[in-house]
Subunit: 235 residues, 2 copies
Amino acid sequence: MSFSQTASPSRSSGNVTDAIAGGTLTTIIRCLSGSSLDLVERGKTIFLPGDPAERVYLLRCGAVRLSRVYESGEEITVALLRENSLFGVLSLLTGHRSDRFYHAVAFTRVEMISAPATSVRQAIEGDARVGLMMLQGLSSRVLQTETMIETLTHRDMSSRLVSFLLVLCRDFGVPADQGITIDLRLSHQAIAEAIGSTRVTITRLLGDLRSEGMLRIDRKRITIFDPVALARRFS
Amino acid sequence: MSFSQTASPSRSSGNVTDAIAGGTLTTIIRCLSGSSLDLVERGKTIFLPGDPAERVYLLRCGAVRLSRVYESGEEITVALLRENSLFGVLSLLTGHRSDRFYHAVAFTRVEMISAPATSVRQAIEGDARVGLMMLQGLSSRVLQTETMIETLTHRDMSSRLVSFLLVLCRDFGVPADQGITIDLRLSHQAIAEAIGSTRVTITRLLGDLRSEGMLRIDRKRITIFDPVALARRFS
DNA sequence: GCCCCCTGTCTGGCTGGCTGCTGATTCTTG
DNA sequence: CAAGAATCAGCAGCCAGCCAGACAGGGGGC
């Protein structure tokens, strides 16, 4: 099940060799048979747990949240994907079909491209440079995820939050008049679900940081005045 | 700097095409120029933060711990790698040389193979199936890491510990006379460093689980009597 | 304009981190 | 093989940080 609205129909036109020469994963994937470019509105689902895992996605623009939903209704965020992240890698695993177990939602307005895993495999076999590029994409994804693990093993919520904010700065930061603004509309609840805390605690800690003059929040957009100072403030 | 003792010298002999036909990453990497097979004793360092990142590793046998060491002396575990895990992927990233920022230690006696990233790149360009296999290896690594994130976002230490034990069962479990034994020698301290807790708490929680009859610990080896029941005991 | 979601704050209660100590186990080394 | 060193496991008491639950005000979206 996919709620995405396809902006352009699947096409296998275009010259794959030319695309590879062009050099970006985007152009290459666009030329694969069955590929599509999708625009997804904020809050819309990209795939649900239980959906068959058969496509690979490349996030071009915006942010995607991967989460796991429990029977209790509780939801935790496994990853906040940024531009150029590959996701849906489950479909790349060998052989037999499997199902998604994460919930993928557009966290902002999203522009992404996708292609069937079978096409991707064929493309890799056809030209090895495709495989190399995807390998690099996945490598950076691994590193990104491991940073998040580092964040989550901090014991006190305060350093956990700070560490998370710094990760967001790295992944979604844009320069502001003073400091760096995290270009996402983050509710306290969303932050809590990402770092394993509760809404109330996040509210309190963000309030503390604000009154210390470390950051500013304007309509759910957080601006960190001095990331370096913030990082130093905690070990 | 590498403290590993090389069991066999580098060699570029062997027929790469044959190796690929053979089908496993191991045989392929063994044929790359500059590859080596290393045996590392428990506790020995594989690479240190600051070492140049130029080799890619494939863990053949045993477990490797990736950790980050802080100035405070505190150490947290980012990943416990199992057999067939690819690591050292930093070296695959594009272009300019970079340095390791994790500490990689043999957690058990380890058998692994490694090759220079440049050789790996060449091999992929030479035969696309190599890239495909590495891509699958990295995909499963991503999933493994994301499972760990799920574990770490559990709020109470009890479910965090249980979730971690179940992960270890999946990755390092061997059937025992009753239940499944985690084939690692885990100190309470090591567990604490992996799930962001303290030694004392782990001691207490493991004691609770033991007195509830969920598990047994024999010389640092944990046996879970009934993983399914344990999983059900927590949401 | 209405409504829902988000933010902010409070109280009470408990989990889990911190400190300090002791005995047990494992590793090292002569 | 045995002695010493080092790490590990277990226990207790104290206290802070965080969660649960509840409620009020406000702002944005439809």
